[in-house]
């Protein structure tokens, strides 16, 4: 079976390198499943989990703020942050979630703070989801 070379890089260094038969990401325009031999593509990602499937193994990664670059034999994810489920700090994510929720209650809809809190909430929920799996 053909595989794709997968690498996830963040400003703090590479997070994940490996092979995968299928890469599944959630782009802004919708879910995207990438198989070997895909045409070159660039797409921004939402704050969500990324799945790498290789045989029976499935790896999950919490990714926020980034985009995916696809080439026929290679997939690169450039993200502002990316974590393996084992690296997620559950306590911190939970605290961030509460903080974000409080701020959402107080702030007005069109406020910049509101948007930031919303993003923070999404990140926290994404992390908690993955860590729970």
């Amino acid at each position: 079976m053909n595989t794709l070379k997968v690498s996830v890089v963040t400003p703090d260094g590479p997070v994940y390198e490996g092979e995968a038969e299928l890469v599944s990401v959630k782009a802004k325009s919708g879910e995207l499943g990438i198989l070997p031999g895909h045409i070159p593509l660039v797409a921004p990602l939402t704050i969500n989990a990324v799945r790498f499937k290789n045989g029976a193994d499935t790896h999950l990664l919490a990714v926020s703020g980034g985009f995916v670059e696809v080439r026929p034999k290679q997939v690169t994810i450039l993200a502002e942050s990316a974590e393996l489920p084992s690296d997620i700090d559950v306590e911190r994510a939970r605290a961030a979630k509460e903080r974000a929720e409080q701020r959402l209650d107080q702030a007005k809809q069109d406020n910049v703070d509101f948007k930031r809190a919303e993003l923070a909430l999404k990140r926290a929920i994404n992390r908690l989801d993955l860590a729970g799996k």
Binding site: D12, P14, V42, S81
Partner: protein, 287 residues
């Protein structure tokens, strides 16, 4: 000539100073190693993002974005990276002096520019001179994570997008080696000269959903990562500069201790000789 006791106390105090500078030198050496590693682990990200930005910006379809276009300059932003602590040789002064001179040459009033500064030394320098500092970060750790500076970097890039300023310059010390750090001036925004990674043939991409929307997320991320990269580079340069400064301080202390020990011994010998002469002449007087 100074008394024996004076010289002795100077020797002890110099020795103590030497211990401190030596310790600081070793701490900086260790930190430099870590900072170098951080800067290295950032390289793959930077290369990749540069490749993608380059291929889009130079693509035939020519996607446009405000961050790629030069506009009339009414206000200029300066990002200046300094350290929180001193004792780093010429590290801070060389950057600050250069920025100060440049600003004075280019601008007549404080309305024409705004400063974003990292580090206490730079912050107090600009405040003291009454220059407008719009954003600052102090107390940054020696190994800054991207999350630590994400906020200020995105606010800075946001100010450009909102039109708060029309161009953005970056000043920092570039780390070349443990003994060399070069002052670097870089035009950050608008992104007019994007390196495309050595001009190798670039894949032409499909864009999902559209080129404009990709640029929308990609360019701010690129600009932020440029700031972060500069910060990592500057941190490495700071530790290198402090290490060198402390090494020469330690060497100087060694020289000073050598000189002082020599004059101490001379003074001791002189006093012994004098005592002997007194005894001998006293004995001779009795005969």
């Amino acid at each position: 000539m100074a008394s024996l006791r004076d010289i002795k106390s100077r020797i002890t105090s110099t020795k103590k100073t030497k211990q401190i500078t030596k310790a600081m030198q070793m701490v900086s050496a260790a930190k430099l190693n870590r900072a170098e590693m951080n800067a290295k682990s950032f390289v793959p990200y930077m290369e990749k993002i540069q490749e993608v930005v380059g291929s889009i910006a130079n693509g035939s379809s020519g996607g446009s974005h405000p961050m790629l276009e030069s506009r009339e300059v009414k206000k200029t932003g300066y990002v200046v990276i300094t350290s929180d602590r001193g004792l780093a040789g010429a590290y801070n002064s060389s950057v600050l002096r250069h920025v100060y001179r440049t600003i004075n040459e280019r601008h007549n009033s404080t309305d024409e520019y705004a400063i974003i500064v990292a580090g206490k030394v730079g912050l107090s320098f600009f405040k003291k001179r009454g220059m407008p500092v719009v954003e600052s970060i102090v107390g940054l750790s020696d190994q800054p994570a991207f999350a630590d500076i994400k906020d200020i970097a995105s606010r800075t890039v946001g100010m450009f997008e909102d039109g708060a300023f029309d161009e953005l310059y970056l000043y920092y010390n570039h780390y070349v080696s443990a003994i060399q750090q070069d002052l670097t001036e870089r035009k950050l925004l608008p992104l007019t000269d994007i390196e495309t990674g050595g001009g190798k043939s670039l894949a032409s991409y499909e864009y999902e959903p559209s080129e404009e929307e990709i640029l929308e997320t990609l360019l701010p991320q690129y600009a932020e990562s440029l700031i972060y990269g500069a910060l990592l580079d500057a941190k490495a340069a700071e530790h290198a500069s402090r290490m060198t400064a402390m090494r020469s301080a330690t060497d100087n202390a060694d020289d000073l201790i050598g000189d002082l020990t020599l004059s101490y011994n001379r003074a001791r010998q002189a006093s012994i000789t004098q005592e002997l002469t007194e005894i001998v002449s006293g004995a001779a007087a009795l005969e």
